[in-house]
Amino acid sequence: MHIYANPLKFLSIARPLTPWLALGGLLLAILGGYAGLVLTPPDYLQGETVRILYVHVPAAWLGMGGWLALAIAGIVQLVWRHPLAGIAARAIALPGMVFCALCLVTGSIWGRPTWGTWWEWDGRMTSMLVLLFLYLGFIAIANAGEERGSVSKVAAIYAIVGAINLPIINRSVVWWNSLHQGPSITLRGSTIDSAILWPLWLTLGGFSLLFGAIVLMRMRAIIADVRSEARLKRLAAR
């Protein structure tokens, strides 16, 4: 892992990888979105609104996955002092927050015609809202620190402690009575019919690749800013 601690080594991989992730992600997301809108049948109970699944589930996956990545970056920063871990955490926070917000909004849009309400203070929705506030808190703490490019130890610890919310979100529909349906996709299989399920894998893959491209772009921007500042300081000191 420390091979990639050198930003130059990281950039030699990130530069060619970024367009591939972005274009591949865009292609898969468009294909999955088109299939979800046009090629799949409406659900026998939910009707057309089931199509919201194809954007809601990837948003939920990336909102939660983004925080898991933040927590891992926090551990890597604190334990191994990897110089890119703080940069990665700073880069992940914004897209993670955006997809978390998208999950809440698209879920609310789905809830109105399906449940008859935009919002319900049940375990799943409330814990997801807590995750959004955790993201806002992380961004505020990261920006308040004096570390250029990286994040403070406090932010790294905050990311690790905040990860306690992830199993709560995941198990909320099992632990408490909820309007939200139980887990549909588990390691043991899926309760969703294959005729409706397959485009979901395309949008999940597509949005995940796009998320990766966004994180790489943001990491490259942070590294470039840090290098510019360091160079300008050296020039000013002459």
Binding site: E48, I52, P95, V98, T106, R218, D225, R227, S228
Partner: protein
Amino acid sequence: MSGQLAYVAAAYGLTIAATLAVTGWSWWTMRVAERRADDVRRK
């Protein structure tokens, strides 16, 4: 049916707009930062 499709359109529209916005913003800030870094390096 058409009422349901309006909700679907709203969800897709918001997702596409937000995803393109965060992707475009990230790409633009990367371009600006890397160009500035190149300019500074040449000084």
